[in-house]
């Protein structure tokens, strides 16, 4: 069996020092294989987002390590770390994080711009991603004028425009009504199934979690349960 794409080894994460010290993660170990869809479930404040940030190499664990395809990531720094994140991960956040007054296409191609991809190539790939999400007719619209569902679809287009291997979705349907949320979920699971993109969903929504291959329950910074889909 190949090495897992992401692997957490006894990860601890604490905030603050001394009497104010707060342990958000208290020894989390888990393996995520390429092509899997994994849900990280827990109540608010249980440490889900913290775990996601550590897995996405946005934050360093206080103790323990994260391995990317079997390689320790503690040595990754600066430009190399930035390039790894840019190429490997796509992000979908509950609050969208779109630049409101920029056009949809400009928002979508941001990861490509950061990667240094040329203008023409950016436009082509940006439009292709939007087409995939049936938003190509909104490419020139300002992001601020989109509906919630359209915004989240733009965010997904942005997440996959650079052909990432892993998409992290932090409460992707948290700001959407049930119907729109369901559409967005379908899109994410289609990407996982059809393009083999590893999907890591952070949520407190049991229904969303139920659609994942694997569910990891977290409470007070420790994994309390793990379920594999039947």
């Amino acid at each position: 069996m190949t090495a897992p794409i992401l692997s957490a080894k006894d990860v601890h994460k604490s905030y603050g020092r001394g009497p104010n010290r707060f342990d958000a993660l208290k020894g989390v170990s888990l393996d995520i294989h390429e092509g899997e869809s994994v849900a990280i479930i827990g109540k608010s404040g249980s440490g889900k987002s913290t775990l996601m940030h550590v897995l996405a190499l946005l934050d360093q664990p206080t103790e323990g390590s994260i391995e990317l395809e079997g390689a320790d990531t503690r040595g990754l720094r600066g430009a190399k770390l930035n390039r790894t994140r840019n190429k490997t991960f796509g992000f979908v956040f509950q609050q969208f994080f779109l630049t409101p007054n920029a056009s949809v296409i400009e928002n979508v191609v941001l990861p490509l711009k950061i990667a240094g991809v040329g203008r023409g190539e950016r436009k082509r790939r940006g439009l292709a991603a939007l087409e995939q999400l049936e938003l190509d007719d909104k490419a020139r619209n300002k992001a601020v004028n989109l509906s919630g569902g359209q915004k989240q679809r733009s965010v997904i287009a942005r997440a996959l425009v650079n052909n990432p291997r892993v998409i992290f979705a932090d409460e992707p349907t948290g700001n959407l009504d049930t119907a729109t949320g369901a559409v967005v979920e379908d899109i994410l699971f289609d990407l996982n199934r059809e393009q083999g993109i590893t999907l890591i969903v952070v949520t407190h929504d049991e229904e969303l979690a139920a659609r994942c291959d694997r569910r990891i329950y977290i409470r007070d910074g420790v994994i309390v349960d793990e379920e594999v889909a039947a």
Partner: protein
């Protein structure tokens, strides 16, 4: 991120909050506008002085006077009377001060010629003309200026007096053309005018000369007739009729020529040697130097005000960008999460500052040049009509470019604080920010 994309993004971001950006640009505009006008003033006036240098005198000559034995006594107490001393022109000091100089005679001229570095020496013959007249008979008072070989009068018509010519030539000021009954400056060329001098015995002598040129009024030569050497000598001889040789050859000053290629040190050394021999000397540069120093001083003070305006504006940039960084916290966090390096984030915000600086200064300099040129030509036609050739506010491309670059530099410095704050931002913190 490619540099070109970085610049493009920075420019795009500048216009995101239009009102705020425009107000900041306006503040910089005021500073840049003022700097452009004050610098233009300095450039215009100094350029005029430079153009006039040639008219005032050649730059390889200096004026030399002999220091009177009693001239340098301690200022307390009355000065002892010296029957040989000549009361020269006004000197620096309270109004009415005159320099008391010893006469320069043949001996002194020989002594000067022997000093190392002196190529030629010529006494300055002061001519005191009574009047000038032409065929139509009206007589007008006029001064007589000295013509030094190499000097360039600013001419409205005709040519420079010929130092080598044996016939009498004169250049008359533009303002006398009408009075002397000539149709215009060109019509005066080749006509004959008469100048009169009175000798020590009260006898008036009239001498004729051909008009070879008409001089425009300028700093150097306002309302003086300039004779060539032959005519100057003739006037001086007529004026000196009846004086014996020793009385005649007592000049208050002399002109000394030196090597035109001399460096400043060599000129200073020559002036030191002249001082050792008991002579005071003034170069043309020194004469103009004080004038230029005053202009430069005034421009410097005005520039200081403009710089203060710019400093105030730079705080505007700091403020604008800090607000922008604050507003875009999540966007910055997202870009960093997507792999944008801190250096690029810093670059993005400081480029934005530089662009704001560029806009403010380019608009300021552009409008400053327009307004300056308009004011200058309006004044040139009215208030300053007596100083032809003076463009009060002039611009040279180098100093305009320097102004724009300096403002952009100031803007960059102002932008470093907000840009560094953006660059330091922790993406995780920014993404949690609600």
């Amino acid at each position: 991120m490619k540099t070109l994309d970085l610049i493009g993004s920075a420019i795009g971001n500048t216009f995101r909050s239009k009102t705020r950006t425009i107000l900041t640009i306006l503040a910089i505009f005021v500073g840049a506008f003022t700097l452009t006008i004050t610098n233009g003033l300095g450039t215009g006036i100094n350029r005029y002085i430079d153009d006039t240098v040639a008219a005032i005198g050649a730059d390889d000559v200096m004026t030399v006077t002999k220091v009177a034995d009693n001239a340098s006594d301690d200022a307390d107490g009355p000065r002892e009377y010296d029957p040989d001393a000549i009361s020269g022109g006004p000197v620096a000091g309270p109004p009415g001060s005159t320099a008391v100089v010893a006469p320069i005679g043949t001996t002194q001229l020989d002594e000067l010629a022997a000093i190392e570095g002196v190529e030629r020496v010529q006494p300055t013959k002061t001519i005191d003309a009574d009047y000038i007249t032409s065929d139509d008979g009206m007589k007008y008072e006029i001064g007589v200026g000295g013509f030094v070989n190499g000097m360039q009068l600013q001419l409205a018509a005709g040519e420079q007096p010929d130092a080598a010519a044996s016939e009498s030539q004169v250049v008359i000021p533009d303002s006398y053309v009408d009075a002397l009954g000539f149709d215009d400056a060109d019509a005066a060329i080749g006509e004959t005018v008469t100048l009169a001098v009175t000798d020590s015995e009260g006898v008036q002598h009239e001498l004729e000369a051909t008009v070879v040129g008409v001089a425009e009024a300028s700093l150097g030569t306002t309302s003086s007739a300039v004779p060539n050497d032959a005519f100057g000598d003739a006037l001086f001889d007529a004026q000196s009729t009846g004086l014996d040789a020793s009385e005649r050859d007592a000049f208050s000053e002399a002109t000394v020529w030196f090597d035109a290629d001399s460096t400043e040190e060599e000129i200073t050394a020559l002036q030191d040697r002249l001082a050792d021999a008991g002579y005071d000397s003034t170069t043309v540069t020194e004469q103009l130097g004080t004038f230029k120093a005053v202009i430069d001083g005034i421009v410097l003070v005005l520039n200081a005000f403009a710089i203060i305006a710019l400093l105030a504006a730079s705080f505007g940039i700091v403020n604008t960008l800090l607000m922008s960084v604050q507003e875009r916290t999540r966007e910055i966090g997202l870009m960093k999460a997507m792999g944008m390096g801190s250096g690029k984030v810093f670059g993005l915000f400081s480029l934005e500052a530089v662009f704001i600086g560029f806009l403010g200064s380019a608009i300021g300099a552009g409008l400053g040049m327009l307004v300056g040129t308009a004011v200058s030509s309006a004044l040139g036609g009215a208030l300053l009509a007596d100083l032809p050739g003076l463009t009060l506010i002039a611009f040279d491309p180098v100093s305009i470019a320097v102004i724009i670059l300096v403002v952009m530099g100031v803007a960059f410095l102002a932008g470093t604080l907000p840009a560094a704050r953006a660059a330091r931002q922790d993406p995780v913190e920014s993404l949690r920010y609600e």
